[in-house]
Symmetry: D2
Subunit: 250 residues, 4 copies
């Protein structure tokens, strides 16, 4: 079986500008995320791409050879060109898997695919997050106990402006009193989408072994299972014998 | 109870350019659609808007006073300004109802809210369409028998590139041998969306009493039931006592 | 408009056997629940039924005149006769609304309609519960702020063995560290189902004004909107001309 | 990788009593269905079970070693013992895959897992059925063109009394004028369910190469991906420090 081709995309902004982030992620957050997936097995082939590359590193050709795209963005959402977003959306609907992390809830591609506000409440206080498993048999929760904890995380709270998830894998409890649907699955076209909440840039979340396990599981769960090439064909010849009637605009 | 404020939007292009359409709909398709809804009861207040008006007749103020928007478009999808689409999307997520008709499957607003290709197959041969009721108790099917027929319609066939409908009200059978999910409901944010297939411009579909009944039912089914104003609030004060820890980017 | 006919069903066991429960609910939990709904408006007509009555107070005739059934059970699930469960299920699929409270998660009728284990984790420690609104515009959350709290409640935790809710209205945070999908909506047949978590019998939950508001909202949200009488008809006459071919078993 | 253990269950009644069925399926319908799956690849290990065996051939031990159960029943639904249905349901919720064929729409296990009437309309006239693919990239439709046809089949028509499918793979067109959701997927607990319509006993449907391909694809699509053992644990020790308050019934 050929390897699963995974591209981890990072906006790579705060890592360059904020010492606190650079200290935790000296090679960029995308590198740490990629490393976690890479370590998870020999069935994956992981590369990275960043906002600053031409076409954000996501040319048409590269996307055509990508099975799963993992996305981390925050400060640079608006800088992502619409033509690249169009391209990613098209590939997801065809069957490419998509894993959206943390502040990617406000990325163009996530909002584009879900159609809703993707809004939430938030607080940056380094509080404890406990992620509960809602389906202990789900492949994305494989190897995770009933729950796992992150000592310091940004809080995201309900209401989360999303369509009802097709499958709910995690819900988070926060020290400050909020809750959040933190692991959500959707089917769109022929593609699978997994949103996973943790990963604020000022904490070492992407080195956590449970977080790495979930992302690695998610990457495999969203893997392509077929291809649906979009078209809007004019099928002039009918299956059954018909006589063309009435007027036409075409 | 105050009246339900309905705006029927039409692109009003083929009615102006094609004699065959002008003959069937001398006052525009939007007028015929509006008339059908107006006749359905005194609980609605129906007005129309067209592409050619400033801001396509859908100013921020007018939309804020609209409960339900009904949409017919085909040749002019690309001419609808993105800023107006943004505005409609926002209102739907807040709670405004939306009824999308026929070729509106490819409108910016429908694709925006669903996130998928909204693609389908088609044939313009004036063939017979039979619409089957999938839930005989659904309010949108009220007053409709097990099925109803349209003698001449454009064919739309599967695959229809949509997220799985939250509720399926109609599925169509076509003379030429195809099928199509022709009455579909979705919940997005706090708004309800109803897609209804029939209505090719070269046939007198919007004068058909069953079509008028379904659209009138749909308008009432999508009616607002509350308001969700979008925000992404920074909730600095937690419910539970917490001590702020760690670093911050904000 | 005729009144919405609501029946509140209670198993009425712990109220009779346990002084601590009898003290809080001297007339039974069903009476307190019914009182809360009755106070909510003149558009409802509320009566009660209990396990100990013939046919548990839910004769075929009475159910045929019931628009919404509200259910509280715990210790007596197994005592509910299957023939009565069949009858309720049939009515829900036809269009009768159903509100299931708290420990009703393990009632025969809830498990019957959802098809899953309806299992959860639990702890009886009188801890604080905070219910967060997931859709601020949802009719069931009308009049509720961003969240509300109950000072003492039994804890229910994930995983909750349910099909993905069609709409999520509330998720709970518990003092002890768990989370739970505490307000869930499903469509089954032509009926609407609302599950609402709070209501352990040793706490005065059904006197809480927010709990009463949510139940009263829920009762109205699940109201019937049409009727789907089940049948499996043999339609011998086809819509299209066909010639009967092949063998038959009937 | 170990083989996928598939059990094909057949009620084996009409094959024994009706010459027309015995002629087409001399070894029983289950044998023909099993043969089709067996031919599809070396990754599956296929056995059969029938109604007439002790415990219908589905002992607790055997089910514990079954990955996917394929079900064909019609005349003998009522003869299937409830204790065996309980057992199958439990295994599906844990993660075992389930493929329900044709008249299995009225089997106890299908109705149990879906919770609805599972009712439909029908006609036995040997008419043509055309099955349209709704998601060309779905693994269950792999190897199938835009549609495929069966020259002679029993008609099943809408309304089909099911919860909205989580994924729609096929919709059928019938010669006599009806339509039907003929390939439907649901997630229940940790298990996947695939319903596939064709297979009336008086036609050689289970020898058709497209039908065999779809069933074989379906068997692989519902394969277990983890295990969720049901429990309703009393979690006495909380994650967070709490002081037990209030009264208790346990």
């Amino acid at each position: 079986m050929s390897k699963l081709r995974v591209v981890v995309w990072g906006e790579n902004i705060h890592e360059q500008k904020m010492p606190v982030v650079a200290k935790i992620y000296p090679d960029g957050m995308h590198s740490a995320i990629a490393e976690g997936i890479r370590e998870s097995g020999k069935d994956v082939e992981v590369s990275t791409a960043i906002l600053q590359e031409p076409e954000h590193g996501l040319t048409k050709e590269r996307l055509s050879q990508t099975d799963v795209l993992v996305w981390w963005g925050h400060a640079g959402h608006a800088q992502v060109e619409d033509v690249v977003v169009d391209r990613i959306q098209k590939r997801v609907l065809e069957g490419m898997g998509l894993v959206i992390l943390h502040s990617g809830h406000y990325s163009k591609i996530f909002k584009r695919l879900l159609g809703t506000s993707c809004s939430l409440t938030w607080r940056e206080a380094g509080e404890k997050e406990r992620l509960w498993v809602c389906n202990p048999g789900h492949p994305i929760a494989a190897g995770i106990d009933r729950y796992f904890e992150l000592e310091n995380e940004e809080m995201y709270g309900e209401p989360f402006g999303i369509p009802s998830p097709d499958e709910q894998v995690f819900i988070s409890w926060f020290e400050g009193g909020e809750v959040f649907r933190s692991g959500c699955c959707w089917y769109r076209g022929n593609g699978k989408i997994f949103y996973f909440r943790p990963g604020h840039e000022t904490y070492p979340t992407y080195y956590d072994k449970n977080v790495r396990k979930v992302i690695s599981n998610g990457v495999r769960w969203v893997r392509p299972q077929g291809t649906w090439i979009d078209a809007c064909p004019n099928v002039k010849v009918a299956c059954e014998p018909i006589v063309v009637k009435g007027e036409s605009v075409h």
